[in-house]
């Protein structure tokens, strides 16, 4: 009862309330909706804190067990503790130019941007191996990708002035039609999954065990 029925009941009550509140134009319902939204955001913050505790545990165990790559665990923990120290104990951590924001701008932002830009190399090499015009469908994919890539850079305009226009046409006609179909399918899937969760049919979020 306490282990499975109460969580399911809470899920149902909060799910039904958040669904029907859109259709009840009363200030008390709007206030409650705002309050619950604040609860959910706060829960997300607590969940993130939980993730950080797990991260600390993971690296602590690696260091304690003298794992081969424990030196990097020191690096991860040092980065984490530095940010926590600068964030919680520096009086103006949220101001531009503070050590906290400098760490974000000069450590986190460059590394993340570079990691994403690395994909330019791998995606290109993957395309070289995967793009073979063996069938009509593969040819369509290849042609569309080539036109869009060429049409969005200045050299495309130099090759042929119609390329940027063709790119726009591909993006706004066949691409839009297929994307709308996918979006509608995803939307219907999201709604049905949400309903299954609220009604207790989908219970994977509770995990295993009792």
């Amino acid at each position: 009862m306490m282990r499975r029925q109460i969580p399911l009941a809470l899920c149902f009550i909060f799910g039904v309330f958040m669904t029907i509140q859109y259709f009840i134009p009363h200030h008390s319902v709007a206030d409650m909706q705002e309050r619950i939204l604040m609860w959910l955001q706060t829960l997300l913050a607590f969940a993130f804190l939980l993730g950080t505790v797990s991260l600390i545990k993971l690296h602590y165990h690696k260091i304690r067990n003298r794992a081969d790559d424990r030196a990097y665990s020191f690096v991860a923990l040092a980065g984490l503790l530095t940010m926590i120290g600068l964030g919680f104990f520096h009086p103006s951590h949220n101001l531009p130019g503070s050590p906290f924001s400098q760490m974000f701008l000069n450590v986190q932002v460059p590394i993340e941007a570079t990691m994403f830009s690395l994909l330019a190399f791998y995606i290109a090499s993957a395309a070289f191996r995967a793009f073979r015009a063996r069938t009509l469908e593969a040819t369509l994919l290849l042609v569309a990708a080539s036109i869009v890539m060429l049409g969005r850079v200045p050299i495309g305009d130099l090759i042929h002035e119609g390329l940027p226009q063709a790119t726009r046409w591909i993006l706004e006609v066949p691409n839009l039609a297929s994307k709308r179909g996918v979006m509608i399918g995803v939307g219907l899937g999201m709604m049905s999954t949400a309903l299954k969760i609220i009604l207790g049919i989908e219970r994977a979020w509770m995990g295993g065990g009792d």
Binding site: M2, R3, R4, P7, A9, L10, C11, I13, G15, V16, F17, W39, L40, T42, L43, A45, F46, A47, F48, L49, L55, Y72, V75, G79, L81, M83, H93, M103, F104, N106, V107, P110, I111, E112, A113, T114, M115, A120, F121, I123, A127, L136, A138, A144, A145, V148, W169, N175, A177, S178, G181, V182, M183, I184, G185, G187, L188, T193, L195, I197
Partner: protein
Amino acid sequence: MTFIWTTIGALLTLSIYSFLYKDNPFYKFAEHLVVGVSAGYYLVIYYFNFIHPNVFSPVFLLRMGGEPIGFGSFLWWMALIPGLLGILLYARFFPKFAWVGRWALGVYVGGYAGLGISPVMQARVIEQLRANAVSVAGVEDPFAAMTNLALGVVIFAAMTYLLIVKRNLGTKNLLAKIGVLLVSAVMGYAGWWVLSLISSTGVVSLTNILLVVGLLGTLSYFFFSMKHKGLLGGLARVGIAFLMVGFGASFGYTVMSRVSLLIGRVSFLLHDWLHLID
């Protein structure tokens, strides 16, 4: 000081790019550093944006948004509840009481599931259908020429396929083959010309027809309650063609966005750090 921060950013950028050669200690250092730094960054942001103003400040400092609140008042209880639910999440560290965390998860999962249903229905289903419920009467058709060209190519290909491959592939006579090819080319061009004429007179908008056919085809492809044969099978095949063009476009778009990021990083190294380019 700025130069020191820029140098740190540049060295970390080079460390990440060193992975292009192979996995190495410089890459691993930068990788682990960003994990720790980003976890710490978001922890601080989440604490000061959500936990402190919504829980800590009202419950312990008895202030909400700068205004004083009473201990045990309605607002105090409303601030205490998410705090208690949040603490329940940590029960997973004690296996005997791990199930208590499900209460908080139930609130979170149910709340967001309910919150999403109406907006998803509105934005992803109704609005998309409304946007695609376009008139086939040619009112404004900026892509008429392009659409006609595409349809012309399709018609030409279809004619060639039907006339040559299906009917006359077996013919031995070279002249007959050339004749069939010429006839199919003329018929294809005539079809293209007729469509251009119809579109330019504003009778039908071929772009809008393509949008409707593309959407119906894509939806048919993802409709698994019936076997894909007959009309549904034909529509599904059309859907595959549209999907492939869509995937190709997405792929091209993604590649260009990554290349744009790459240009940004190279510009950072050569301009901001080394001042080699203007």
